[in-house]
């Protein structure tokens, strides 16, 4: 019975967007463009009117005011507040950041070598920071160090844009340390240009009764590699990672999360989702580790993939390593082609097959978006996914009729023969 309740709670974690609320927010928020203006436009704005002109311009374009803009490594502040910067070559950067000290973190070492600056966010009390990370044709890696004081509540929103393609690599590194009873929500929205390559690294330690939630939306780029490791180190602390990947046209996602329960009564939760079409691929692995001594802890891994065609591919790998007996742990993993019964149901309500496919993909990803608590970012992410999906090609070839994937034959010739499935249909 207890286990069933546990399962139910885990499932209820995936709440949906309250429709009316969303409609209301949409009414009062601008219709903002997802495609960012070219870097050259940004530079000319700065040349003409300084940083304030760039902030005004971007606020208008995005419908959201950034606090900090990283323009290919150069930092501009709107409201400096709790963000400052460290020279990556300085001695203090070595004592502050542990990202590149581990020999295994080759990329972190590379990023540190090529970063122009390290952003440091020192949260105290309740705060919200929007950081716009803008990579040019040769993007500079970005490092953000977050230190949250005791009892603080920080929402850190990062928006990634990059014009770099081919060998150019957009690097995004985050390191988080919390004080006791603090809460951090890190929302990373990836809307890089088609063809951009991204490497993202997250390390975080949740100390005494604090929590870290990392929500990652991958809706751009051509190749994205994310490595996330969160450690619930404090007694009763919580860590959570929610990833959603949207592959429209030949994108590749390589996403690995590592959640560690190091102390007693800690909670870890990982939810990964991917919608793939047009030859996109995803490799998604979650490793949950419950250390010896982490009594009464629990860890949940949920992975789900939705495939729209035979050219797309997904590997979902849940993995658990448990060194303590008095714990609760659950993992689930499922991937499937889009359901013909779901499509039929939508069609009986007058919705075209194309629109049904759009809605199902949208809904699938929105479950992750719904976990973002910051409403502005939630609406931004929902609009981003909507815009990306609007550009998707749902008119897949007719030879997709197979046991694996179902496509309706909507041709006029369907008069004599409707479908050819294995269902008995009774």
């Amino acid at each position: 019975m207890e286990y069933i309740e546990f399962l139910r709670e885990a499932q209820n974690n995936a709440i949906t967007l309250p429709y009316e609320k969303m409609e209301l927010y949409k009414r009062y928020t601008k219709n903002f463009a997802i495609e960012m203006p070219p870097l050259e436009d940004m530079k000319s704005k700065v040349d003409e009117g300084g940083a304030s002109a760039a902030f005004e311009y971007l606020s208008r374009v995005l419908g959201m005011a950034p606090d900090v803009i990283l323009l290919n490594g150069y930092v501009m502040y709107n409201s400096s507040g709790i963000v400052n910067e460290i020279d990556p070559a300085s001695e203090s950067s070595f004592s502050d950041s542990k990202l590149y000290k581990n020999d295994e973190d080759k990329f972190a070492a590379f990023a540190n070598g090529f970063s122009k600056t390290i952003l440091r966010v020192r949260a105290d009390g309740r705060s919200r920071v929007n950081i716009l990370i803008y990579g040019g044709i040769t993007p500079r890696p970005v490092q953000v160090l977050v230190n949250a004081a005791d009892e603080s509540d920080l929402t850190l929103n990062e928006f990634y844009f990059s014009e770099g393609t081919g060998a150019a690599l957009m690097g995004a590194l985050n390191e988080i340390n919390t004080g006791s009873n603090s809460h951090i929500e890190l929302n990373s929205i990836h809307c890089e240009k088609e063809g951009a390559n991204v490497f993202a690294l997250l390390k975080g330690v949740s100390n005494g009764s604090s929590s870290i939630t990392s929500n990652n939306i991958y809706a751009g780029g051509s190749f994205i590699r994310q490595r996330s490791a969160l450690d619930a180190r404090g007694l009763g602390s919580r860590i959570e990672i929610n990833d959603a990947a949207l592959g429209i046209k030949g994108q590749s996602f390589d996403i690995f999360t590592n959640l560690i329960n190091s102390n007693a009564e800690t909670h870890a939760h990982s939810a990964m989702k991917a919608v793939l079409m047009g030859g996109s691929m995803a490799y998604m692995k979650s490793l949950a580790k419950i250390r010896h001594g982490a009594k009464k802890s629990r860890s949940v891994i949920m992975e789900r993939g939705l495939l729209y065609d035979k050219t797309s591919h997904i590997d979902l790998i849940p993995d658990m390593s448990i060194d303590e007996s008095e714990v609760k742990a659950m993992h689930s993993s499922s991937s499937a082609p889009i359901s013909k019964d779901d499509l039929f149901y939508c069609s009986t309500r007058g919705i075209t097959e194309e629109n049904a496919k759009f809605s199902i993909a949208m809904g699938f990803v929105l479950e992750t978006v719904a976990k973002i608590k910051d409403v502005n970012v939630k609406v931004f992410a929902a609009n981003l996914i909507k815009e990306r999906l609007a550009g998707a090609n749902f008119n897949l070839p007719k030879d997709m009729n197979s046991k694996d994937v179902w496509m309706a034959d909507t041709s006029e010739k369907a008069h004599d023969i409707r479908g050819d499935s294995d269902d008995d249909g009774i």
Partner: protein
């Protein structure tokens, strides 16, 4: 609207399920289709709506004299046909109300006023005694059996089809809920002059409704037709005599 089913033969996986079925339903009429398990009731409902997993080998389905066999399901729905599913699918992340609005806008081919639409949703969901929280959830996700059935009737109320096929609207409902659902179906169909085909095994829901035509299906064809007296007969004797026929 007139729905005519003529000599319909349907198979799936090389197995014949409907074997020469004839049925005509006019707008405003109330028909009931009863029959034992596996007789082809749900197959008929799905075949009318153009389920792609079924093969129509012979016969025709006509709406107002025109065949609908070549039409896609969404176009059949736009003609004014509605199917209430026996077991509606659950779709993650697609908000129930959002879906409902999309469905209505597709069928009406116009953008709805959100405030007016929400007023209608609230009015009908209150009449169906639905939990307020249900409409804020994902489509049928986590709904109980009764909530799913009520959600289907709510969709019918808003879409206002000319002819609705209700596939076991009573299954999964408790005694009180059956009465609520039946009363709502009566009110909605009367208000909209809607044709109705109710598919059911049992007469419980029919005790709250007044069907005009009763059809018994067995082995994929209509084997007996009549009025309310036929329901009473089935209640006493069962389907055995028809299965032998």
């Amino acid at each position: 609207m007139i729905l005519e089913i003529k000599d319909l033969h349907v198979s799936a996986s090389n197995k014949t399920i409907l074997d020469g079925l004839d049925l005509t339903i006019k707008q405003g009429e109330f028909h009931v289709l009863m029959g034992p398990n596996g007789s082809g009731k749900t197959t008929l409902a799905k075949a009318i709506m153009g389920y792609p997993g079924l093969k129509i080998t012979k016969g025709d389905i006509l709406v107002d004299g025109k065949s609908i066999l070549g039409l896609s399901t969404d176009r059949i729905a736009k003609l004014g046909l509605f199917l209430q599913f026996q077991t509606p699918v659950e779709i993650d992340g697609v908000g129930f109300v959002n879906f409902l609005k999309s469905a209505l806008e597709s069928i009406k081919d116009e953008t709805l006023n959100t405030r007016e639409f929400m007023t209608n949703v609230k009015e009908y969901s209150a009449a169906l005694k639905m939990d307020k929280g249900v409409v804020g959830r994902s489509l049928n996700k986590g709904f109980s059996g009764g909530e799913k059935k009520k959600a289907e009737i709510l969709q019918m109320a808003l879409i206002k089809p000319m002819l609705a096929i209700l596939d076991e609207p009573d299954s999964g409902l408790d005694i009180d809920a059956i009465k609520v659902v039946a009363e709502n179906i009566n009110n909605i169909t009367k208000k909209n002059n809607q044709g109705l085909l109710v598919i059911t095994h049992y007469n419980r829901i029919l005790s709250y409704m007044k069907p005009e035509f009763v059809h018994v299906i067995s082995h994929g064809r209509i084997v007996k037709e009549g009025g309310l007296e036929l329901i009473e007969h089935l209640e006493k004797k069962g389907y055995e005599e028809f299965e032998k026929a």
